[in-house]
Symmetry: C2
Subunit: 280 residues, 2 copies
């Protein structure tokens, strides 16, 4: 089994970004990272994103609010960031604490600055297969992982496990756009393993540590693992038991070092494009 590493895909995306940065005529795009509270997941993603942006030559600014911030104050602060002309793109770390109205923020965010595709306008575009908007970075990272590795998607049987709005559903739509035959599985799917085994490309985005193993992988399948979980020993792991599938899968992405590294590269590329669209 070949391990599909994120690093080389990230490097290819960086080259693409560098071409587009040239058109910015010296302007350095700036991402606002909006975080409420100090959740370890958020902090870890924020660190990774900042590092990646820096390596792409891009700027970022963190806007951090206490977990106790009131809904109205948060909306006011968010609107100010949204309208700030120095900010080209916004990454909102989610989920927000329950007392904050996440849906309202999705409607406030300027679709042009919405580099992680959370606004209704961008979501509708992903659904429609319209590539002029921003898709959620993680979903797009899966497609980039395949494309940069020149793995054909058109006509393939693809199974996506998970139906969240952050990954599962948009990813299914991106696969459809690439002309795959797409099956969406979830917690209510009967015979999950059988449905997964039938897939030539299997994308796991369920958010449950090692929930899929060799019994869910068909001979020669390509496995993309979107999960970032912590296993019983406190170690990072994916939704797929990577060790177990070596004799079945042809290729698979490890966790860490797989899709995650590509996600932040896609974020950086989106930021460049957001800055470009604001120059028009």
């Amino acid at each position: 089994m070949i391990a599909l590493k994120g690093a080389q895909v990230s490097a290819a995306i960086k080259e693409q970004a560098e071409q587009e940065i040239k058109k910015l005529k010296g302007k350095v795009p700036c991402l606002a990272i909006v975080r409420v509270g100090e959740r370890p997941d958020d902090l870890s993603y924020e660190r990774g994103a900042k590092k990646k942006l820096e390596s792409f030559g891009l700027e970022s600014r963190s806007f951090v609010f206490p977990e106790t911030i009131e809904n109205e104050s948060f909306q006011k602060e968010f609107k100010a960031i949204n309208e700030n002309p120095e900010i080209d793109g916004i990454l909102l770390l989610r989920p927000l604490p329950r007392h904050l109205d996440e849906k309202a923020i999705e409607k406030i965010i300027d679709p042009q600055k919405d580099v992680d595709g959370i606004s209704p306008e961008n979501i509708a575009k992903v659904f429609a297969g319209d590539e002029t908007g921003f898709a959620p970075c993680t979903a797009e990272a899966v497609i980039q992982m395949l494309k940069v590795n020149q793995i054909p998607i058109a006509g393939k049987r693809v199974t996506v496990v998970g139906r969240s709005m952050v990954v599962g559903k948009p990813l299914a739509m991106l696969f459809l756009k690439e002309n795959a035959t797409v099956t969406i599985c979830h917690t209510k799917t009967e015979n999950l393993n059988e449905t997964c085994k039938n897939a030539q490309i299997l994308a796991a985005a369920a958010g449950k540590a090692k929930m899929l193993n060799q019994d869910a992988v068909g001979e020669g399948a390509i496995v993309l693992d979107v999960g970032i979980n912590v296993d019983e020993n406190g170690k990072l792991c994916g939704d797929v038991d990577f060790e177990s599938i070596g004799d079945k899968a042809a290729m698979a992405t490890p966790v860490p070092g797989g899709v995650g590294a590509v996600t932040t590269a896609v974020l950086a590329l989106h930021l460049v494009r957001a800055a470009l669209s604001r120059m028009d």
Copy 2:
């Protein structure tokens, strides 16, 4: 094989609508049907819709424009209909002639009056599984056909053939919302028959006369035919060769007399709900 007729499902939806109409305190909802040109398909759907609305005790008004209307004039006229306080819901007959900007109209239409779910806001809601908006009537008609007939959907393997924004994609999302395991097929799908045969519920929405026959239907499957086509003898027919599947399918919807009759009933129900939402 049992033929699933639209008439009894339409009658059940009428009962539901009558309950909701009571809350309108005498107000009679009015649908604007917006048509450009005289396409036979449009005229036929318009006639069916008007008849159904009348039978539900609802009003409709046709707004007809010549095929030669300019884009700017059409947008102006459409805005006036959209803002007209006497209009509770709008059905735009599509596709529009090519020189008219359909995407612009989708953005103009008030989501609250958008009873056929064409606005980005309603589309995003269907994608997200948020039932507070309007789904496209045909897609919802398929789900109603199953629900009124008390056919379980949760956990079933469902295959949708077709990925249009009018039926295929929204229908896939509605099935997902009902906890089905959903596969989406299209023109680029390899081994289409095999994928269809694996489905417990098969929904055909490809818009191609009799493109599916007994070879695409699994033993005991339930077949929903969304297609409305004209066959080589000039007769209405679906995407499924109804005659051929009698020994395979457990139940199937005929064309005409199947999903189509339910679609206009869903349209009427949506109109009542649009009027209700405007009372708040």
